[in-house]
Amino acid sequence: MTCREFLALLDDLIDENLTAETRAEIEQHLHKCGHCEVIFNTTRKTIEIYRSHELYELPPAVNERLHAAIMARCKAKHS
């Protein structure tokens, strides 16, 4: 497997969409290729960091104000 072929499979590897056979081929490649191993680990970490950090907080008071506004507008449409 070349680095380019590895990269084409990177998303499926991260999303765990690969057959055991392809996984084994990739693992073999990663064992020899430090470059691709770094790409794999840091890309996975990138996703984890974004998934686990709330970037745009909606403070409870703002949330409540917006929620009330939404429901008031819906009720006005309904009646």
């Binding site: 996703i47 960091i49 998934r51 970037l55 745009y56 909606l58 939404i70 429901m71 819906c74 449409k77």
Partner: protein, 208 residues
């Protein structure tokens, strides 16, 4: 085993379906439950697309109102949430257009087409690089980094990786083909990784 579970899962009724039916029958309180369930996620998506807090608040309200008004048009062949996200993304793009008058904004802008370029940055990150920053610093880095992505990559990354939509749902929501979603997702992930490397190396003292 997972295949059997997912087939069984498809036959179960999604709890949103019952709520949607109740709203259609005139029960506004059922809509309150749906709004509560998804409002924060819709806000996050709107903020990610518009990159503007005021717009995000407006989009959040308008998207829920529009969904309420158009609930009769909701076919039920997609999930309520996916349908709602689609409305929110379209509303967000409209806001962007208003802000950038004269300049068209679409999900296709700023797209590069070259594929499969292997990143050159070889240096690894520290085991837990985020621990070298306090929460506020880290959030700022993550915001700045994702803001730098082209719009069409950012939306795909947010829907797919942050909000957890499937590739198929992301494609449906954005009106893109599945290969287009996959290609953008790969490029978004690699660009974010590359941009974050700059911060995570500097602080950890690893030479680039």
């Amino acid at each position: 085993m997972s295949t059997i579970q997912s087939i069984a899962g498809q036959n179960e009724r999604h709890p949103d379906e019952t709520l949607v039916e109740r709203v259609r029958a005139g029960d506004v309180s059922a809509y309150d439950t749906l709004v509560r369930k998804y409002e924060r996620r819709i806000f996050r998506i709107a903020q990610n697309v518009t990159q503007n807090r005021e717009d995000a608040e407006d989009v959040m309200q308008d998207a829920f109102l529009k969904a309420y008004e158009k609930l009769d048009q909701f076919q039920g062949n997609s999930k309520f949430y996916t349908w709602l996200v689609r409305i929110a993304v379209n509303e967000s793009l409209m806001r962007l257009r208003k802000r950038r008058t004269g300049k068209m904004v679409s999900i296709d802008e700023d797209m590069e087409t070259e594929e499969g370029t292997v990143p050159r940055d070889l240096a690894d990150w520290a085991p837990n690089p985020e621990q070298n920053f306090n929460q506020a610093e880290l959030a700022e880095i993550l915001r700045k980094t994702i803001q730098g992505l082209p719009q069409g990559f950012r939306v795909v990354f947010v829907l797919r990786d942050v909000e957890g939509l499937s590739t198929e749902e992301t494609a449906e929501t954005l009106g893109l083909s599945i290969p287009a979603v996959k290609s953008r997702l790969l490029r978004a992930r690699l660009q974010l990784r590359d941009r974050l490397s700059r911060y995570f190396h500097r602080k950890t003292g690893v030479e680039k």
